[in-house]
């Protein structure tokens, strides 16, 4: 089926197999490999992207469903080679180790901040409950989000390193 889809502001017209997931379409057809495939079953959140303004697990969306829709991925997060404030906070707080979950984490964090500009730790935990990280233990990720939303109060830098 031929689909028209806007990804990170760029309009694409592509032929795609009906059984291809949005995730595979992004990675294989558009070369946007920042979005990762973890479990493929909606558990781990590594494949989280924005679809029509809402975060979804792109492993559980068909590419054909995105026809006439808009998608935003991690590749659209920075502008002109400059990291977003959220990305910089992840960098500053060492919220990235292997990096596999990071694209999805950033997407979920962005959605959370959009709805809750000044989240509490509990709200962050809930906002990220669909994103698994096996490296960091989440503390650094929570700190990064607190930092970018003005809720970070730690006295010293790099407390987890």
């Amino acid at each position: 089926m031929r689909i028209n889809v806007t990804v990170n502001g760029i309009a694409y017209e592509k032929d795609v197999l009906e059984n291809k997931t949005l995730l595979r379409f992004l990675r294989e057809d558009l070369g946007l490999t920042g979005t990762k495939e973890g479990c493929g079953a909606g558990e781990c959140g590594a494949c989280t992207v924005f679809f029509d303004g809402k975060t979804v697990n792109s492993c559980m969306v068909l590419a054909v469903e995105a026809n006439e829709g808009t998608v935003e991925t991690i590749e659209g997060e920075s502008t002109g080679g400059m990291l977003s404030a959220l990305q910089e906070a992840f960098d500053r707080h060492h919220a990235v180790q292997c990096g596999f979950c990071t694209a999805g984490m950033i997407m979920s964090a962005r959605e959370l901040i959009h709805h809750t500009p000044h989240p509490t730790v509990e709200q962050i935990q809930e906002g990220l409950e669909g994103n698994f990280c096996r490296c960091t233990g989440y503390e650094q990720i929570i700190e990064a989000i607190l930092d970018v939303t003005g809720g970070y109060t730690a006295k010293e830098e790099l407390i987890h390193v």
């Binding site: 809402k54 559980m60 994103n131």
Partner: protein, 272 residues
């Protein structure tokens, strides 16, 4: 995914129902896809056609009025329920259960109707809908019927739906407006997880109802119980309803114990 299928997304309900009649059991309806696409991927379901039901505008409607109550269209998502202010003020139990369903991203896609049609014993929305005495609207190209949700489930992953039928809406009667209730789900972790068991206790008008998930082949609920029912009588009423099994998550004895325990705790919370 290895399995191949055709995809269609009708924009009129009549077209959708006609399609369902022609394709019969070879067609699978795609709403949130959070069960269907995983099942196709795992080879558990092999549809010839996937019919996307979300392109019909009325599918997304949440309507509330003072005579008919609340009506939820067939593609209303769990997060639509959580963001609706009318539901927050008048049908709070729906939000309480919705809040415990999976993760944020899944709630952006998963639908209330899908959660019911999937007929998993661990459905999180079913305890609320059972307590609120919801009706399920079912349509085919030839007929329309409304069935109380307590008659909808017939077994594990089984419902009364015929192959040419689909659920087009859920109605919560006006009598259930203002229901106060609590839902608690026993999980292995604090984050999102399938429930080991779940219990909802609701004060609906002048009586109580208690709904349970993951403790019988289908979600179950008591009938109307008197408001002043004793703790032991309430626990006995729930205990008589359930028939838990032992599985990878826990034993049937533990399930039965925790259903009683959650009933006791929630009863106290709802009454306080």
């Amino acid at each position: 995914m290895i399995h191949q299928f055709s995809y269609t997304a009708p924009t009129e309900l009549t077209d959708l129902l006609t399609l369902l009649e022609t394709a019969g059991s070879g067609a699978k309806l795609l709403a949130g896809g959070t069960d269907l696409l995983v099942n196709i991927r795992n080879g558990l379901v092999k549809p010839s056609t996937v019919v996307d039901v979300k392109r019909i505008p009325e599918a997304h409607a949440i309507m509330s009025d003072n005579t008919k109550g609340l009506r939820i269209g067939w593609a209303v998502t769990i997060n639509d329920i959580l963001k609706n202010s009318e539901i927050a003020s008048s049908y709070q139990l729906l939000q309480t259960c919705a809040h415990d369903l999976a993760s944020y991203q899944v709630r952006n896609r998963a639908t209330v109707v899908g959660n019911i049609v999937n007929a998993s014993p661990c459905s999180d929305m079913a305890p609320a809908l059972l307590c609120l005495d919801a009706s399920i609207e079912i349509a085919s190209s030839k007929a329309y019927r409304t069935v109380p949700v307590r008659q909808f489930f017939t077994g594990v992953k089984r419902t009364i739906l015929e192959p040419d039928e689909m659920v087009i809406g859920i109605t919560i009667p006006i009598q259930s407006k203002g229901t106060k209730g609590k839902y608690r789900k026993l999980k292995r972790i604090q984050g999102h997880d399938l429930g080991i068991i779940g219990v909802a206790v609701a004060q609906v008008g002048d009586h109580l109802r208690i709904g349970v998930s993951s403790a019988a082949p289908t979600p179950v609920a008591t009938g109307a119980l008197p408001l002043d029912i004793s703790e032991s009588e309430a626990i006995a009423a729930v205990d008589a309803l359930i028939s838990p099994i032992s599985d990878v998550r826990c034993t049937k004895e533990y399930r039965r114990f925790m259903v009683s325990e959650f009933t006791r705790r929630l009863l106290a919370e709802v009454r306080s």
